[in-house]
């Protein structure tokens, strides 16, 4: 299989994820976008690993780690979102302004 | 390795450290201040007595400090630094004695004393340092103490902005100067001032020299201060307490001209040659500008006595700059002489201004009124003496320096436009006339005429004040009458630095 197909897929996934991270307000959706980006990385890594015929399979090994990282991040991320939601009853990032600098000088 | 020199530099620091000990009382703090500065002065005098005239460094100490940085703890003095060292030690001692009776409100006297001791260490170190980074270090040491002296003990209302203006201006200058030093080191591989001076710019291209001179010159020019970089000075002087003003004018400003003589000119001859005309031009403008502002201040009811003296410093330092910019031994000797003379005279003037301010609660000319001769005749006489010394009357300390500087400008160093320098000379001459005009105007305004303005406290010069001021008056006379004593020390060193015979 040609290397380009998975790469294009990865770039598309990454692009969608990046857009999500930058454009979405809801923390959960941002989290999902980040997962999308990480999966783009996985596609990339596996594709390169196959293409390079890496004897050490560094790409696949890294994929495993990325999966773990993604899992840990999503778990921790959800926990944090949950905590914020309990305190504020919102998970929209722009609504979280308590720590932000106020226009008329800081707190 | 010279223990004495190190002790001179370290004595004030030790004094400051002593002050940090718990349980030091108010009185003890002031006495420690006197003790430490006296020790430094004694050391400096010992050095002066043991000083062997001629070329080269004396009392050298050269120890590696941070080899990775190329930093060496290299101290030493020659004929250029010795007079300044003694001047510094003397002025600080006088300030310490002055502080025995007179510390303005603003904070504990312990802190006050500790700060001016730190200041002294920085200044002495600057004059003794022979390593560029070490020089920079000591150069910077004075910033924070001076800042606090102004910020805490200065006159309320002005001290905040003035202190920040002082420290930010000078720090910006010295940061740029550091860049110049590092550029020199990058090209030559050493920070050693003696070695660099011996090389006379070898190993550095013209472009590098110009760039480095620009950077270093800029940093030093802020400190000098050279017109148009002087704007921090009047504010700082006006706001500072008496001790601060005295040290600022008498000692700190000298670090700028000293740096130019010690580093910028000998290490970067080509850069110096390129920038000398500009330096001279700015110096001359400073002379005229300072005088004009002083004249204007005299007419202004809100004119401040200390501000007048501050602007007169700008003028005097213009002479020093002109002398240096001639790149001749005469000119540089003149600049050094200006330094010493200015240190003595302006120190005295600021003491006097402080005394006036203490007595009348204000230093605004408009509110002071005149008639000092009548009210406090001795004080009035001293003010007149200071003013006359400041305008460069022959026989007093101010005269020789200006004369030598102008003499140097008459025949500037090789490669410099004679015509241009003679024009500068002419304008500087005009400046002396203007200086005379405002200083005499000041005397007339303050000392003569009917008593008016603020009710006078009526106290004439007190004993302690006399103790403090007498040495300054005496030295002003000595330097004016026997200039050769000083020149004999500076001249060989200057010639060695300038590469002449």
């Amino acid at each position: 299989m040609h290397l380009v197909y998975p790469l294009v897929l990865a770039v598309l996934l990454f692009g969608i994820g990046l857009y999500g991270v930058l454009a979405r307000r809801n923390a959960i959706l941002v989290l999902m976008s980040i997962e999308l980006m990480l999966n783009a990385v996985n596609v990339n890594l596996v594709a390169f690993d196959m293409y390079l015929r890496d004897t050490l399979h560094a790409g696949q090994a890294l994929t495993l780690f990325v999966i773990t990282i993604a899992a840990a991040e999503i778990g921790l991320g959800l926990a944090i979102v949950l905590m914020v939601f309990r305190n504020r009853a919102t998970a929209d990032i722009p609504d979280l302004r308590e720590l932000a600098e106020h226009k008329e000088g800081s707190v | 390795m010279s223990v004495v020199l190190i002790l001179v530099v370290a004595a004030p620091l030790l004094g400051a450290a002593l002050l940090l000990l718990p349980g030091v009382g108010d009185r003890a703090a002031r006495l420690i201040g006197v003790g430490a500065t006296a020790a430094a002065l004694v050391g400096a005098v010992v050095l002066a007595c043991a000083f062997r005239r001629g070329r080269g460094m004396r009392f050298e100490t050269d120890v590696s400090w941070a080899p990775s940085l190329g930093l060496r703890f290299h101290l030493g003095i020659d004929g250029i630094s010795l007079p300044l060292l003694v001047l510094t030690a003397l002025l600080t001692l006088l300030v310490a004695v002055h502080s025995l009776w007179n510390i303005p409100p603003g904070g504990s006297s312990r802190a006050f004393v500790a700060l001016f001791l730190l200041l002294e260490t920085g200044t002495l170190g600057t004059f003794a340092a022979l390593d560029l980074i070490l020089f920079f270090l000591f150069f910077e040491v004075v910033l924070v103490p001076m800042y606090f002296l102004i910020n805490r003990w200065g006159s309320p209302g002005e001290r905040g902005p003035a202190s920040y203006k002082f420290i930010l201006y000078t720090l910006l200058g010295s940061a740029v100067m550091l860049l110049g030093f590092l550029l020199i080191q990058a090209k030559t591989g050493t920070f050693d001032m003696v070695e660099l001076a011996d090389r006379h710019g070898a190993g550095m291209s013209h472009g590098v020299q110009v760039l480095a001179f620009l950077a270093i010159g800029l940093g030093l020019a802020v400190k000098v201060p050279m017109w148009p970089l002087h704007t921090w000075l009047p504010d700082a002087h006006t706001a500072a307490p008496t001790a601060g003003s005295v040290l600022l004018a008498g000692v700190l400003l000298k670090m700028g001209t000293y740096g130019l003589i010690r580093i910028a000119v000998p290490v970067l001859p080509e850069g110096a040659e390129t920038f000398a005309p500009y330096l001279a031009a700015f110096g001359v403008v400073g002379i005229v500008y300072g005088s004009l502002v002083c004249l204007a201040l005299l007419r202004d009811p809100d004119g401040d006595l200390k501000r007048v003296i501050a602007y007169s410093s700008v003028g005097h330092m213009g002479f020093a700059l002109l002398g240096i910019a001639t790149l001749t031994p005469q000119g540089v000797n003149g600049a050094l002489f200006v330094n010493i003379g200015h240190g003595l005279v302006t120190g005295l003037l600021f003491f006097l201004a402080g005394a006036v301010k203490d007595r009348h609660g204000t230093a605004l000319l408009g509110r002071l009124g005149g008639g000092m001769y009548g009210r406090t005749p001795r004080l009035g006489a001293l003010v007149a003496f200071g003013a006359v010394a400041g305008l460069g009357l022959p026989g007093l300390a101010g005269f020789w320096g200006e004369l030598l500087a102008m003499y140097g400008a008459y025949e500037p160093g090789a490669g410099l436009s004679v015509g241009g320098y003679r024009t500068f000379l002419a304008i500087a001459g005009l400046g002396t006339v203007l200086t005379a005009a405002y200083l005499l105007g000041l005397v007339r305004r303050l000392c003569m005429g009917p008593a008016g303005g603020e009710p006078a406290a009526g106290v004439d010069v007190t004993g302690p004040e006399l103790v403090v001021w007498t040495p300054l008056v005496a030295l002003t006379l000595v330097a004016g009458l026997w200039p050769a004593t000083l020149l004999a020390i500076t001249d060989p060193a200057v010639r060695a630095l300038m590469g002449g015979s």
Binding site: L31, T55, V84, S106 | S68, E140
Partner: protein, 516 residues
């Protein structure tokens, strides 16, 4: 494919192991100790960090040879060089101080939910801290992208939790902002890593550099993109502008010792990572990333300083100031292009700066912690500190002036001179001038803060511990918490030591082959 992966150099990885095992021990101790006996946890943590420090000595004595372990034919994954040791020393030492700082804050024992919300549960706190330190310490030795990525995540993930450990609204908000931006940055970094791997076919840093040198021209763009994305990831970690948005809010919302942790340990590790990828793997592209990082450095320090000018909250000010300091650390990177291939002349300056920065910033945080306990977290709350705690005030003044870089803060001055020297040596004059201007801007707010310390307390302020009763009689002194005193003394002594003998740190400038 019979290669020997099994010779593990236990000594080499013992700093990492010590901290990891300590984390485990703390976790178990928290589970099985009851009530008041949980007070032993901070001490266990300190012991663990100390145990991590111990093996640095024999490793140092080992000589100049790099010790590698987990090796494959294309390189070793974990290498101990002098750089590793220096960074690990800084990391472990800083973490030690952070633990001291946090001791008064951590809830010793008692039931869940007891105590006020400003306290954090001790077991979790120390476990997470040690876990995070494990990652940081491992990062210093990582020499392949896998180890690097995993270490970075081990460092980051517990840090998110640490920020959010305090269960008030602010902690959550801070953690969320930190988390989302950081996780996004991680994704970007990983994408970069994948591209680098794809174009060079290797994950070992040294090997990557070799492959980049002889890269198929068609792949150059892929590799360059990968390098850029990877470095952007690290730029987030070190809070370089424009990737800094998380830092002020996060520092502000986190418990103060955690903010100190982020600003020192996490940042140092981030820079170590950047140093490794930029200095080793992407060395052939120094002409590309050098100027880019130079611009980044300039923007970072300027933005950080300008923003810090406007701050009235102590922690937030330190946050912006630490962004500015990041800019200074980035400067040596920015000069890399001028040095051509030989980065050993310039990058060690960043390490030296980081070491000094760690001491002075932690010291400042120690005092802020103290004042925040007694009065509040505003800069104005430091007013009159000298009257209440003269030693603390003097120390704070010293640290602030160190951060500003003027005497008597000689340590900071030397650090800045080092950086300046690197810039000038590389001929990147404009950056030097920008930095000089920034030093001046920075001085303004550091000095304003310093001035507050010695100013007279305004009437009506809650008094600091040593209050004066009627008639000027001291009504008694509430002693500072001992761990805070220890932290202050430790950082203060180190700061003075580095001021007097900067060679202790600047030594790294002249170590041959620091980057290994």
């Amino acid at each position: 494919m019979p290669f020997d992966v099994q010779s593990i150099d236990w000594l080499a990885i013992s700093p990492v192991l010590a901290v990891a095992v300590a984390a485990l021990v703390v976790l178990l101790a928290d589970l099985f100790l009851e009530g008041a006996r949980k007070a032993v946890l901070p001490w266990l943590t300190l012991a663990g960090l100390g145990a991590g420090l111990v093996p640095l000595l024999p490793l140092r004595a080992d000589g100049d040879d790099a010790r590698g372990t987990f090796c494959s034919p294309s390189g070793c994954s974990y290498v101990v060089t002098d750089l590793t040791l220096v960074v690990q020393l800084v990391l472990l030492g800083s973490a030690f101080v952070v633990v001291l700082l946090s001791m008064p804050m951590v809830r010793a024992g008692g039931a869940e939910g007891a105590g006020d919300s400003s306290e954090v549960p001790g077991g979790e706190y120390h476990f997470l801290l040690l876990s995070s330190v494990t990652g940081a310490v491992a990062l210093a030795g990582a020499r392949d992208l896998l180890t690097l990525v995993v270490a970075l995540e081990t460092l980051s993930l517990p840090a998110f939790a640490l920020v959010g450990l305090r269960r008030d609204g602010r902690g959550g908000e801070a953690a969320l902002k930190f988390f989302l931006l950081s996780a996004g940055a991680t994704a970007v970094l990983l994408f970069g890593v994948s591209l680098v791997y794809g174009s060079t076919g290797s994950v070992h840093l040294a090997r990557i550099a070799g492959e980049l040198d002889r890269l198929d021209p068609k792949l150059t763009h892929v590799a360059a993109t990968g390098a850029v994305l990877t470095m952007i990831g690290f730029a987030f970690k070190v809070a370089a502008v424009p990737f800094h948005a998380w830092a002020p809010d996060t520092y502000r919302g986190a418990p103060i010792p955690v903010a100190a942790y982020l600003s020192v340990v996490s940042k140092t590790a981030g820079f170590a990572g950047l140093l490794l990828v930029a200095g080793i793997a992407f060395r052939p592209y120094a002409h590309l990333w050098g100027p880019a990082l130079a611009v980044l450095a300039a923007v970072t320090m300027t933005a950080g300083n300008l923003a810090a000018l406007r701050q009235t909250d102590a922690v937030r000010l330190l946050a912006w100031s630490s962004i500015a300091q990041s800019g200074y650390v980035l400067v040596p990177f920015g000069t890399a292009a001028g040095h051509g291939e030989d980065l050993a002349d310039t990058l060690p300056a960043a390490v030296a700066y980081l070491a000094v920065y760690a001491v002075m910033n932690l010291g400042a945080f120690a005092v802020v912690t103290l004042v925040a306990r007694e009065r509040g977290g505003l800069v104005a709350d430091h007013r009159g500190l000298f009257r209440a705690h003269p030693v603390a005030a003097l120390a704070m003044a010293f640290f602030l002036l160190c951060l500003a870089g003027i005497p008597p803060g000689l340590a900071g001055l030397f650090a800045k001179v080092t950086v300046f020297q690197a810039v000038i040596g590389a001929g990147t004059g404009w950056l030097a001038v920008v930095m000089a201007v920034n030093v001046v801007i920075g001085l303004y707010y550091y000095l304003a803060w310093t001035a507050q310390l010695f100013a007279v307390e305004a009437p009506g302020m809650p008094s600091l511990a040593r209050s004066e009763g009627p008639g000027g009689v001291r009504t008694g002194t509430a002693p500072m918490p001992l761990p805070l005193v220890a932290a202050l003394v430790l950082t203060g002594v180190l700061g003075v030591l580095l001021s007097v003998a900067p060679q202790l740190v600047l030594h790294v400038l002249t170590v041959p082959g620091l980057l290994g």
